[in-house]
Symmetry: C2
Subunit: 248 residues, 2 copies
């Protein structure tokens, strides 16, 4: 049996956002590895072993996946959203690069998924309709000074901004600081989208002018999208639509 | 009959990347509108009218979709990739905002898709594994000076960068200028991915150190991804893997 590793994106939650090629890979797998809540989305079946692990053990999980593939297993590493955006793909390649030479002969494929910012943007309208950036606000793996530098330059460049991992209980001050920096650099009332649990039954959207944003509006299940200087809100009887014109 | 507009992303080409919810919307539609090559991807069936139009008529197409929905039709506006990323969603909302008040009562939904940069990144590894930006290099709708400003600030912020619409026959000089600016600001040999016709049978990937990049390496079917200063290549018997570590 020839083993392989597929690093697959399950999308942000709604099952109708999972691509057929990800479904096909899961149907062929012998083993699935991933963070507990993502592995919980995989239907158990005979012949499939589910290996759920805790957060912050991405490298251990990656090595485990590569070891199993080297033994001939067909392994799917599941990520929420897209595996290449602040998710498992980079971790697997870090483990591959540091691991035994033999691992490099393995078949490793990345299957893209709908990343949270695209689902959040779609649910609210089209706030990423022009040039934008995506920033991971977690400082677990990089210094906060680098995040702050990127925020200032992104505001100066007038990018719309999508923030992943905006706020956790262990470091609530990062997002508060982010809002201070944006208020100071943007100097306007551009709309900010807080999209919580996007594409799940608990989805909740909120559009707030930048000066009125407060840190408690985001938690780790919230995707935050800050408009650029031209981002607009259209009021409709069905609710507000947030979008960034193509000329911005 | 109650009309609606769904703005749907077909992904970059491979049919197994089309989400089930987009398939479902197409199955319920009475009318499909879009740019000729995207409408060509929709299987004809009885009861479905296909309205293919040329490039650069996005606003006309959007108004047509909204008019038909107001008449009770179920209209899918098709985009390649994700409709919210340099595609039709922003155009439909521009038309909505400028159009008759009655249009605002229409049901309008955006269904996300796999945008080209995610498919290109997945095909090459995980070059967007950390903070990144997406820039449309076309100056059809914005001044070139704004593009140049964003390129310089993105390089200073050390974002990985994904470029949409890098080069067309009518303005070949933009991408040449982009490479000059990046060489001047990045001052290193970071890898650049040229991903042509990604996820189609003609897919061709090429990874080139920044100083060796030339304008002819990209055309309008090419997605260009420039790594950040930490982006790396792993050599394997199956070919190079491009990725950006999570700490970058």
């Amino acid at each position: 049996m020839t083993g392989w590793v597929v690093i697959a994106g399950l999308g942000p939650g709604r099952e109708t956002l999972v691509t057929p090629e990800v479904r096909d890979a899961l149907a062929e797998a012998t083993d699935v590895v991933g963070y507990i809540p993502y592995v919980a989305r995989i239907a158990p079946r005979e012949g499939l072993v589910l290996h759920a692990s805790d957060n912050r053990v991405e490298l251990d999980r990656s090595r485990h996946a590569l070891e199993m593939a080297a033994e001939g297993k067909r392994v799917v590493v599941v990520s929420s959203g897209d595996p290449g955006v602040f998710a498992m793909a980079a971790a697997v390649f870090e483990a591959l690069e540091a691991g035994p030479e033999a691992w490099r002969a393995l078949e490793i494929r990345v299957l893209p998924g709908i990343t949270a910012m695209l689902a959040a943007a779609a649910a609210a309208g089209a706030p990423l309709g022009h040039d934008f950036c995506a920033i991971n606000l977690s400082d677990n793996l990089k210094p906060w000074a680098l995040i702050e530098k990127r925020l200032r330059l992104a505001a100066e460049a007038d990018f719309a901004m999508a923030f992943y991992n905006p706020r956790s209980k262990s470091r609530p001050e990062g997002f508060a600081r982010t809002l201070e920096i944006l208020t100071e650099t943007c100097r306007d009332a551009r709309p900010v989208l807080f999209a919580r649990a996007v594409s799940t039954p608990e989805q909740a959207l909120r559009i707030v002018p930048l000066p009125d944003c407060t840190p408690d509006m985001a938690d780790m299940r919230t995707m935050v999208i800050v408009g650029n200087s031209a981002t607009r809100v259209i009021d409709t009887p069905r609710g507000p639509i947030l979008y960034t014109p193509r000329s911005a």
